[in-house]
């Protein structure tokens, strides 16, 4: 339970980890949820970069945080003051294992299976999609295209540069500016 003067959001990462490790099992639901809220987005970002698959990144975030909480409860996290490092290390280990399994799965699929039809990602969006759509529409055409090609079509800067007839450096500069505007529009409540 949070202390009398601190809401759970104000408790440090270390204190959260110590409570999960030290308090009786079943009495730290709020702390576990808060740890998940804080670190799942970071693990997802890590997973998207290293697994190049949004659904796999969602799974990685769940699995890493579940394992972290189990290890805390079992008293197997030696340095709760470095819980972030523990979570990063666990992310690296599990992503590495996932890549190995994926390679084996892909090799088997290539040998024995018909190509599977594409499926829509199952992860639920955490933001209001209509608002994001409105903010995307409000971007300049070129900026919107760069954002969509990067984060929807998952193309790298050199390929986007070909699509747009600009340099890869220009693509990066456009993307920095566009994502800052999008963030301000969606999260800051600026009028699209």
């Amino acid at each position: 339970m949070p202390g009398p003067h601190l809401t759970i959001e104000a408790v440090s990462d270390e204190a959260l980890a110590r409570r999960i490790a030290g308090d009786p099992s079943g009495s730290t639901d709020a702390e576990e949820a808060e740890l998940y809220r804080r670190f799942a987005p970071r693990v997802r970002m890590y997973g998207r970069r290293h697994l190049q698959d949004s659904a796999a990144a969602d799974d990685l975030a769940q699995n890493v945080l579940l394992l972290t909480i189990e290890r805390l409860r079992a008293g197997e996290v030696r340095r709760p003051e470095e819980i972030g490092s523990f979570i990063l290390g666990t992310s690296r280990m599990m992503a590495h294992a996932e890549r190995r399994v994926a390679r084996r799965r892909d090799a088997l699929a290539a040998r024995f299976m018909e190509p599977a039809p594409g499926t829509a990602p199952t992860s639920s969006a955490a933001l209001d999609a209509p608002r994001l759509a409105a903010c995307l529409r409000a971007l300049a055409g070129r900026d919107r295209l760069v954002v969509l090609l990067t984060f929807y079509a998952e193309r790298e800067a050199p390929r986007i540069a070909e699509d747009l007839g600009v340099s890869p450096g220009a693509v990066r500069a456009i993307r920095h500016r566009a994502m800052a505007r999008l963030r301000d529009c969606v999260l800051g409540g600026a009028r699209p």
Partner: protein, 189 residues
């Protein structure tokens, strides 16, 4: 909304990191910091929320404008129903969307030259109703691709829409082609 406190990892760093375009050592340094810094972690959470919501926003098919084959391919993989019209200059094409179409795609052909910036103007009865400009190169089939939410097309009455595509090249603007869509209203299956 800005996250107060540590500013070590800016949105530009997160953008490059998430796009997978940082050298390994720089990416590893960002990861080390992100997992130990609550302020930067919160900024990463905002960014993650934006990126996660993007497929839903695009699948809602409310995001139109100039697009490329790569975006159409992803939409197709996600099962978005697309109605496509391929138009050559001077074409007059009966155009309608079915009630379950989600996106209308126009493949605009013509002498695109080496231009990499185009403007598409839409006119109804001589009055300009929309104008979109973007840097974009012609696709492999010598087309510029433009997408419109089908919901918007469904709202149109029976009307003739004139589309004019212009290319910006060497500081000059030139007409590529004019195309006419005869909107016939909504079709039901």
């Amino acid at each position: 909304m800005t996250v107060p406190g540590c500013e070590r990892i800016a949105i530009a760093d997160l953008t490059d990191y998430a796009a997978g375009e940082l050298p390994e050592a720089e990416a590893a340094a960002i990861e080390e910091h992100l997992f130990s810094c609550p302020d930067c972690g919160a900024r990463a959470a905002e960014f993650d929320a934006l990126v996660r919501a993007m497929p839903s926003a695009v699948r809602s098919a409310e995001v139109g404008g100039f697009v490329t084959e790569a975006i159409l391919n992803r939409l197709a993989r996600e099962g978005v129903r697309v109605r496509t019209f391929a138009l050559s200059p001077g074409a007059i094409v009966p155009c309608a969307v079915w009630d379950d179409d989600e996106l209308m795609v126009l493949r605009l052909r013509g002498d695109l030259g080496g231009a990499s910036e185009f403007t598409l103007t839409q006119r109804v009865a001589g009055t300009e109703v929309s104008r979109a400009t973007s840097q974009i190169a012609a696709g492999p089939h010598g087309e510029i691709i433009y997408a419109e939410p089908a919901a918007r097309i469904r709202q149109l009455p029976v009307v003739q829409v004139e589309l004019v595509l212009t290319a910006h090249e060497g500081g000059e603007e030139r007409a590529v082609g004019s195309y006419t869509l005869l909107h016939g209203g909504l079709l039901h299956r």
